[in-house]
């Protein structure tokens, strides 16, 4: 019905009567047959209730005062409400977007790295109880079964290797735990700087009171073909106390391609060997007492044989203990250096170059684009939901108000 009323034009007679009402209200003459209608309109107009003078004066004053609000927060509220919602919406939306962008950016910040100097070693967690993995007594490289964590950092690769040897001696305080470390470092240098880098390794070892176990250098001639480029490898031992400084100096020798840090908790091995030594010492003392009390030559001979076996085991255990101590105090460090023609002309292989800056700029842009995309993915549905809720609330409020006219 409503639809028909909207679509249909007014009946000419109705339109004429409505016009007569308007003319009657305006004091203009109307057709004689509609004079009664105009009179009714004027009578209705006279039923209008005027405002009391007191009310009008009070309202005039409130308008003149700008409808002041009572209370201490009136000023703040006035300032906040003075701005129309649409003006507040933009800053509020921008703030919400910024919040999301910052949140996402913080979570993504690990993707952005600095130059070569930004190389840092990942903290390696202390191992918990884990089964023993192979290791040579002299402190050689760990055998298979290593758990390796690898991360990207400034275009380089760094790894942390976590190992545990035997059962954990949980009663040993953390400060006294015996930790065996191992570091593998791969460097590259321009062909013209390859020899200096290789020589620099020996200088670093000497400066930090370490020693070279094994070394190999080949193809250092800058004029050789690409397939004969230089390669050097070193197996070093560096005192544990000197390791951080030594690694810093070694890293400065060239472009760090990768670095792997491995640690192994060998506390249980220490505890086990010490217990074994104590037990063997006790056995040896007992045998010595028995030997002193032995009467017959046969008995003495038997005790001597057993004593020799125990002393042999004791020597082996002590050697084992010494090797373990050396493993803790002297850290095996493997260094390889490869000549890389791509680095030719790079005066500062370890510095932050223009190429690094371009690379970082690209990363920043890609991360920013990703952050904006994620933000849009988060805020888009929220905005749609908010608009829907607003529309529904508005419609419901309007319906409730209209219902007030029906239920009186």
């Amino acid at each position: 019905m409503k639809l028909r009323e909207r679509e249909m034009p007014l009946d000419p007679e109705v339109e004429r009567e409505l016009e007569a009402i308007d003319r009657g209200l305006g004091g203009e003459p109307v057709d004689p047959d509609l004079e009664g209608l105009a009179e009714l309109a004027r009578a209705l107009r006279e039923e209008r209730v005027g405002a009391e003078p007191g009310f009008a004066a009070r309202l005039d004053q409130r308008v003149a005062d700008g409808f002041p609000r009572p209370g201490r927060l009136a000023g703040l509220r006035k300032r906040l409400t003075a701005a129309p919602p649409r003006r507040i919406l933009a800053p509020a939306g921008a703030a919400a977007t910024l919040l999301v962008v910052v949140g996402v950016a913080v979570s993504q910040s690990g993707e952005i790295g600095g130059g070569d100097d930004g190389f840092s070693t990942q903290p390696v967690p202390q191992p918990a109880d884990q089964p023993t993995v192979g290791e040579d007594a002299a402190g050689g490289a760990p055998a298979t079964g290593e758990a390796t964590e690898t991360g990207r950092l400034g275009g380089q690769t760094t790894s942390g290797v976590v190992q545990s040897s035997g059962r954990s001696a949980s009663e040993v305080p953390p400060a006294k735990r015996k930790i065996a470390r191992r570091v593998d470092l791969a460097l590259s240098a321009s062909p013209d700087r390859f020899r200096d880098a290789a020589d620099g390794v020996l200088d670093v070892v000497r400066d930090h009171r370490g020693f070279v176990v094994r070394s190999s250098v080949s193809g250092s001639d800058p004029d050789v073909t690409r397939s004969q480029l230089g390669h050097a490898s070193f197996e070093l031992r560096i005192p544990a106390g000197e390791l951080p400084a030594a690694m810093g100096d070694l890293s400065d020798l060239g472009h760090v391609v990768s670095r792997t840090d491995g640690t192994r908790d060998i506390t249980s091995r220490f505890v086990s060997v010490k217990k074994r030594i104590a037990a063997l010492e006790e056995t040896r003392q007992n045998l010595l007492r028995q030997l002193a009390e032995a009467v017959t030559p046969i008995e003495q001979e038997s005790i001597k044989r057993r004593l020799a076996i125990v002393e042999e085991q004791l020597s082996a255990a002590q050697a084992d203990l010494g090797a373990a101590q050396q493993r803790v105090h002297l850290v095996p460090v493997s260094v390889t250096i490869d000549a890389d023609p791509a680095l030719a002309g790079d005066g500062d292989a370890g510095g932050w170059s223009l190429g690094d800056a371009v690379g970082d700029a690209g990363k920043v842009l890609s991360v920013t684009a990703g952050v904006l995309l994620v933000s849009a993915a988060v805020l888009g549905p929220l905005a749609i939901l908010a608009v829907l809720i607003w529309l529904v609330a508005r419609t419901l409020a309007r319906l409730r108000r209209e219902r007030a006219l029906d239920q009186i």
Binding site: D22, L44, E47, V49, V63, L405
Partner: protein
């Protein structure tokens, strides 16, 4: 007038002042006609102007005239008042004051006015609202359509029906 003394009035302030001066009595008459409660009408009128004042900068001329916008705010405030009354179950309607008819008027006039008031009292709220907008507030048919949210044709048709109803009621009483 509405801007504080220390502030330079903006266009919105000036427009609001004009709106207030021109429409204060019309708004009050409309609200009083709808609520039929003089005291509540004053409160609602003041509330409507306060809301209009606080939203004066958000007025969008593309959505209608300032007068239509103001009466829309007043209508919402009046309907909220009606809802509040319904919740409190204290519907207060001012009784028709027969004594308010000036004694100097003739008996015939008095009878006609009494009949008209009785007819007005018999109207449904929606019909009474149309009368209030048209005859108490003095809105044009397009303005009424804008305030209520219906088409102009629909507003004219509804208004004509109400007038017919009133005319019949007055004739019957007479």
């Amino acid at each position: 007038m509405a801007a504080a003394a220390s502030e330079i009035p903006t266009d919105a302030d000036v427009a609001f002042d004009e709106l207030y001066r021109r429409d204060r009595d019309d708004v009050h008459s409309y609200v009083a006609g709808l609520l039929r409660d003089r005291s509540a009408a004053e409160d609602v009128t003041a509330l409507a102007f306060e809301r209009a004042y606080r939203r004066r900068r958000s007025f969008n001329p593309k959505r209608g005239t300032r007068r239509t916008w103001l009466f829309g705010i007043a209508r919402n405030a009046a309907l909220d008042e009606l809802r509040r009354r319904r919740r409190q179950a204290t519907l207060v309607a001012e009784p028709v004051d027969e004594a308010a008819i000036p004694p100097e008027q003739g008996a015939e006039v008095a009878i006609r006015r009494a009949a008209l008031r009785a007819a007005l009292a018999s109207l449904a709220p929606r019909e009474r609202e149309l009368v209030a907008l048209k005859f108490f507030a003095g809105l044009t048919n397009p303005e009424i359509a804008g305030v209520i949210g219906i088409s102009e044709t629909n507003a004219g048709t509804r208004l004509h029906r109400v007038i017919e109803k009133l005319r019949r009621a007055c004739d019957e009483t007479a």
